[in-house]
Amino acid sequence: MARHHQRRQLARYLPVLPAILLLAVFLAGPVLWAFQASLTNAGLTGRHARNPEWVGLENYQRLLQDPVFPLSLALTVLFVGGSAVLGQNVLGLALAVLLRRARPAVSAVVGTAVVAAWVLPEIVAAFAAYAFFSRDGTLNQLLGGMGLAEVDWLYAVPMLAVIMANVWRGTAFSMLVYRAALGGVPAELTEAAHMDGAGAWQRLVFITLPVIRGSIATNLMLVTLQTLAVFTLIWVMTAGGPANGSSTLPVMAYQEAFKFGDIGYGTAVASVLILIGAVFGAAYLRLLREQKP
């Protein structure tokens, strides 16, 4: 009887099989392959491409001695902290708050402009940002027009340029999350505080933010994970340069594997990135479970 039940249960879940196969081959497979390949000297071309040799933890030892790695790690933290946690998150919240107060026509136009930068294909957004920050680009034209000194953004301050570009590109996501969250704040709460004489700022800080703290935590987690994976924007704007000045972990992994042809070392860098993503991912799942009543 129990066996019959089990078999029926198994048959019922048969339709999940195609999805599991796809995920196993193309998602779980590469992750496991990465950890394995990072322990070899696999190359892009040549002898080591066909017959990679087992080198143990050599790639990871090299990683610890490579001066580019700590730099790359620090730049990744700076990029995620500056463009996601601070930039997109705070600007997204500010926009969501302002959009509720502004005239409907204004908020419709501005909302569309913010979302447009986010819906565009990533390569188009990257080229637009590249042109905007380049030496004779729009930003310098504006600065020049106002009589301010021009800056060669992509060479002098590459991190600032890619951080600003990523804020431009990604703020729409946080804005949409906070717009939905603010819509769920009961009006009686803020009205009651208004009656008690609380100002706009006080209402925001003491009433609204605590009520939507769950959404804030979720949003922080999601934008962190998205920003951790940003490659195209940086690669088009600066290619990680100058002198590795904007080479975050995804850019470094790409360059080691495909530019310098060292797949083994490149996957070691990628493995570190996967592990960082896994830590944040696990934290995110915990957060979701806690939020569930």
């Binding site: 195609p18 999805a19 392959w33 996501f173 939905a180 992994a253």
Partner: protein, 265 residues
């Protein structure tokens, strides 16, 4: 006050896009933004050739529609038992695939390249479709299951009473009721695949297979000369389909967040 601040922020968001629009109309466009002296459609007509525009867009369409179809089919099949049966398997599976969405896809590209070399799948459009499907599947399964949960079991039971099998009831009753939801999932996956640059850049090598996201580099000449006007015109033509699709979903679904892939339990 709020209006003024918003308009300033909005202007900052529009400025980088202004270059695309003005540059596409200016046959002598460069990095800078300027109103073209003689606005003309020369850039567009220069781009409108099979090699530069139609083949890359066709490849993009194959890639995105293929990914949308494969993802949707696998997601609907997987969502049915997850939505309709109770089992200890459901929660771990759903959280497991949610964890999968958290992995940075760019980090997986180096190993995926290695995997494709070993399996001799490099430069294969179908294999790239399968990989893209795998990356969008976790989110698609979550969304599809939520939409399926919204279809009451009673409707389905009525069909069984009339003698329909589970599969027949799924096809003739449940899926039609989920129509708009499935449309959202498909468009969501389609837009992601259409805009993806890194995956086809690493996995599709020959010009004949490259989608618009990658072929855009054909506007970079060999000696550093860039046809900026044509690049801008091409970018606009390449972006229009996803802007239109987004417009449809944002209007129809009422909640643009459905597209953002934001998951909340």
């Amino acid at each position: 006050m709020a209006d003024a601040v918003l308009l300033v922020i909005g202007a900052c968001f529009v400025l980088p896009l202004l270059w695309l629009v003005l540059g596409s109309l200016d046959p002598a466009a460069g990095h800078g933004t300027k109103v073209p002296l003689r606005p003309a459609l020369d850039n567009f007509s220069a781009v409108l050739t099979p090699e530069l525009l139609f083949r890359p867009l066709w490849n993009s369409l194959l890639l995105s529609a293929g990914t949308g179809a494969v993802t949707l089919a696998a997601a609907v099949l997987a969502a049915y038992p997850l939505s309709r049966f109770r089992s200890r398997f459901n929660t771990p599976f759903l959280y497991g695939i949610l964890f999968g969405t958290c992995l940075p896809v760019t980090a997986i590209m180096v190993p995926v390249y290695g995997l494709f070399v070993q399996l001799q799948l490099l430069d294969s459009l179908p294999a790239t479709v399968l990989f893209l499907s795998a990356t969008s599947l976790p989110m698609a399964i979550w969304m599809t299951r939520n939409f399926m949960d919204a279809v009451p079991l009673a409707v389905e039971e009525a069909a069984w009473v009339d003698g329909a099998s589970r599969l027949a009831a799924l096809r003739s009753i449940v899926l039609p009721l989920m129509g708009p939801g499935l449309g959202v999932v498909f468009i969501f996956v389609f837009i992601q695949a259409w805009g993806n640059f890194f995956v086809p850049f690493v996995l599709l090598l020959s010009e004949a297979n490259q989608p618009a996201a990658v072929s855009i580099f054909s506007f970079f000449g060999q000696y550093g000369a860039v046809a900026y006007g044509q690049l801008a015109a091409f970018s606009i033509l390449y972006s229009l389909p996803v802007l239109a699709l987004y417009g449809i979903v944002a209007r129809g679904a009422g909640n643009p967040l459905a597209l953002s892939g934001a998951v909340r339990g």
